[in-house]
């Protein structure tokens, strides 16, 4: 049947595998965007189209048993980590087969089978969670890493700073992964952070080794992340990586919104010209590492899978309304003993 991200036909070829992973995420999100207007996905969705390089590279660099957590814009992180795409889509459609059984929607993704421990809707809310996973890992003396995805806006929350301090203090195996896409909703960095201050440099001052990179260059992202993970696994404490990138569509929802005034069409086009998928594709083709025909094959293969996902999900049952009143508490010992 459909194969998972890890069993894609190009996985043996590093660059092609990364391309596949980016396309996988892109295709799923583009299809969401295309169908959102039908009104069947009745929850806010934050698409990461344009930002796939980070999701793909980090997802590949992490091991399956590593942990990841994220925020509102988590589709890419979840899929990149190997999260079940049908369960994600079903969640967005509010179906019972959703990864959170319809309780959470797009902003609450989880797939514990691949270490994706959860994404939530409060900006910065999972940063401490990810650090706590790191603390737990360190108690178990395992060589797992906990990866925390967040944006440039989340950096402004005190929770980020407090979490960074604790991770540095206890040298926890945490990868702080900041996607700086220059915006928080419709706000540029200007009303939020001092001019000229680089986020990664500030974090360096907090006592965490940090670096910055081009978030649209998937090969570079992979290498940077892989080397940071090696450091972290060897017990050298947390690392902070900032990748500059750009979201193409509106903050929340399926449309483009460069016309409404908070950013310019030119800015968008300049970033679109640096599309991580197109860049890698033309790069590989020009170097003869990939045939144009392979690209089409890849696209076709992915699209047909994604179509199957949507068909399955659209035909999946909704949860019974009564399920709204289930799972408030996990059963405690006394309840279990009564069962």
């Amino acid at each position: 049947m459909v194969h998972t991200l890890e069993s894609n036909p190009w996985q043996q070829d590093h660059a092609a595998d990364l391309l596949y992973r980016m396309k996988w995420i892109r295709c799923i999100e583009e299809t969401i965007a295309g169908k959102y207007g039908e009104g069947k996905m009745r929850c806010p969705v934050h698409l990461s189209i344009g930002q796939e390089a980070v999701s793909a590279a980090v997802g590949k660099a992490l091991r399956k048993e590593d942990y990841a957590v994220s925020g509102h814009r988590a589709h890419g992180h979840y899929l990149g980590k190997g999260g079940d795409p049908q369960a994600m889509l079903a969640e967005i459609y509010g179906k019972r087969s959703g990864c959170a059984r319809g309780k959470g929607g797009s902003m609450h993704l989880i797939d514990e089978t691949v270490g994706f421990k959860g994404s939530t809707a409060i900006v910065g809310g999972t940063i401490p969670i990810g650090v706590g996973l790191g603390y737990s890992i360190s108690c178990r003396k395992s060589d797992q890493v906990s990866c925390v995805f967040f944006g440039d806006g989340a950096v402004e929350e005190g929770a980020f700073y407090e979490s960074a301090n604790f991770a540095a203090l206890h040298k926890l195996p945490v990868l702080f992964l900041c996607e700086n896409n220059f915006y928080s909703v419709y706000s540029s960095l200007r009303p939020r952070q001092p001019e000229g201050r680089e986020i990664y440099k500030m974090v360096e001052g907090m006592g965490i080794e940090s670096a910055q990179g081009d978030g649209n260059n998937v090969l570079e992202v992979f290498d940077t992340v892989a080397s940071a993970l090696k450091d972290i696994r060897s017990g050298r404490g947390p690392r902070f990586l900032e990748f500059k990138t750009y979201r193409w569509r509106e903050h929340c929802g399926p449309n483009f919104d460069n016309d409404i005034g908070y950013r310019t069409e030119e800015e968008y086009l300049s970033w679109k010209a640096r599309d991580p998928v197109a860049q890698l594709t033309s790069d590989l083709i020009s170097k003869n590492q990939l045939y144009p025909a392979t690209v089409s094959e890849m696209d076709g293969e992915i699209q047909s899978q994604v179509d199957q996902f949507f068909t399955f999900v659209e035909n999946s049952p909704f949860p019974d309304p009564k399920e709204a009143y289930q799972d408030l508490f996990a059963p405690d010992d006394f309840e279990r003993s009564r069962l």
Binding site: C43, F318, A324
Partner: protein, 352 residues
């Protein structure tokens, strides 16, 4: 002179009038000056009053609250907006330990004239952390005023009063009210913080309601009236300090109390209404008071789960019927609904 306008525009108008009148009024919060202007409520403010008085902020809810408290201690009158109440949970320390207590704990020397707008989400899969109704929390804290307007006129009049109130005011706006229309007086129209609004007068039963639930109560009204039931509908436009006189007067008249609360039932504001009425007017009660609230669960996201989660006019009709010993049909209300259960009206295109 009044004219029809929406709840959201009435809020915008109140801030505009306040800022024109008093240079110490400043307006801030995430997205204050962005193209959407917090559901339209802050549009044009920066154009008229400049970037020093109207500004976007970092995503730092806790410190921003403290910073505006500090500004208020120096005589400014800040209005902060949060697109969801849920985000404001980050700022409870500043609200409760500083804003609410400053005047009292420093012996009545310096008050904190800050207004905090909190928007309550609902529908379109807002889910567990974008649709909380924590009015009972705020009302429990001595030193806070808690305002929850339902009508556009109250939104304007109470916001102006809140801004010029010398004390901290938590001003709660239900997202489903922003596009509702009503008559709104022009100019510097103020509604005192405190008195309840009597939305309908009747003798048979007292409905004490708040915020969006009053809209549902008003939808239930014609059906009740058609069955000869005439309720007092009391809108708690101010939740704290609460106008107990207004509620008790009504219950003493009707002998029956049904409380409509937008929040999860247990330990909600509805409990205080019932408790206070029972302790103070026990002898007037003809029967046990009741309440209609949300179940004690977070709000689920899927439309199939949220469909039965929220309580609506139908539930009010049925419960009132039960209390009056009648079986009332709410069929007509159900038939009138032209929008899916998870949007406030056809104007609502999601996502927030």
């Amino acid at each position: 002179m009044s004219r029809r306008t929406t709840f959201g525009k009435a809020i915008n108008e109140a801030m505009t009038i306040a800022m024109r009148q008093d240079p110490r009024v400043v307006v801030c919060g995430l997205g204050t000056d962005d193209p959407k202007g917090i559901f339209g409520t802050t549009l044009k403010l920066q154009e008229e009053f400049g970037a020093k008085r109207v500004f976007d902020t970092p995503t730092s809810e806790n410190a921003m609250t403290g910073i505006m408290i500090g500004a208020a201690l120096d005589g400014m009158r800040p209005v902060m907006s949060h697109q969801r109440l849920d985000f404001f949970l980050l700022a409870m320390d500043q609200l409760v330990n500083n804003a609410a207590k400053w005047f009292y704990m420093f012996g009545g020397q310096r008050s904190v004239p800050v207004t905090i707008r909190l928007i309550i989400g609902r529908g379109w899969g807002q889910g567990p952390t974008h649709s909380q109704n924590l009015q009972s929390w705020f009302a429990h804290i001595p030193g806070l005023k808690v305002v929850m307007p339902t009508t556009p006129a109250d939104a304007k009049g109470l916001l102006l009063s809140s801004i010029f109130d010398p004390n901290p005011v938590v001003f709660m706006e239900h997202r489903w009210l922003h596009e509702m229309e009503g008559d709104v007086p022009e100019g510097d129209y103020r509604v005192p913080i405190g008195p309840v609004r009597v939305a309908n007068e009747g003798n048979d039963i007292t409905l004490v309601s708040m915020s969006y639930m009053t809209v549902e109560a008003m939808q239930a009204l014609p059906v009740l009236q058609a069955h000869g039931i005439h309720p007092d509908i009391i809108d708690l436009s101010t939740l704290s300090p609460l106008d107990w006189g207004g509620i008790l007067k009504s219950v003493r008249k009707t002998g029956r109390l049904l409380v409509l609360d937008t929040s999860n039932e247990s330990f909600s504001a509805s409990a205080e209404i019932i408790a206070r009425v029972t302790t103070e007017a026990f002898g007037s009660l003809k029967q046990a008071p009741r309440r209609i609230c949300l179940p004690d669960f977070p709000s689920p996201t899927s439309p199939s789960l949220s469909a039965g989660f929220y309580r609506r006019a139908e539930d009010i009709v049925e419960t009132v019927g039960q209390m009056m010993g009648r079986t009332l049909s709410s069929e007509s209300i159900r038939l009138q609904r032209t929008t899916p259960h998870d949007v406030p009206g056809n104007w609502f295109k999601g996502p927030f």
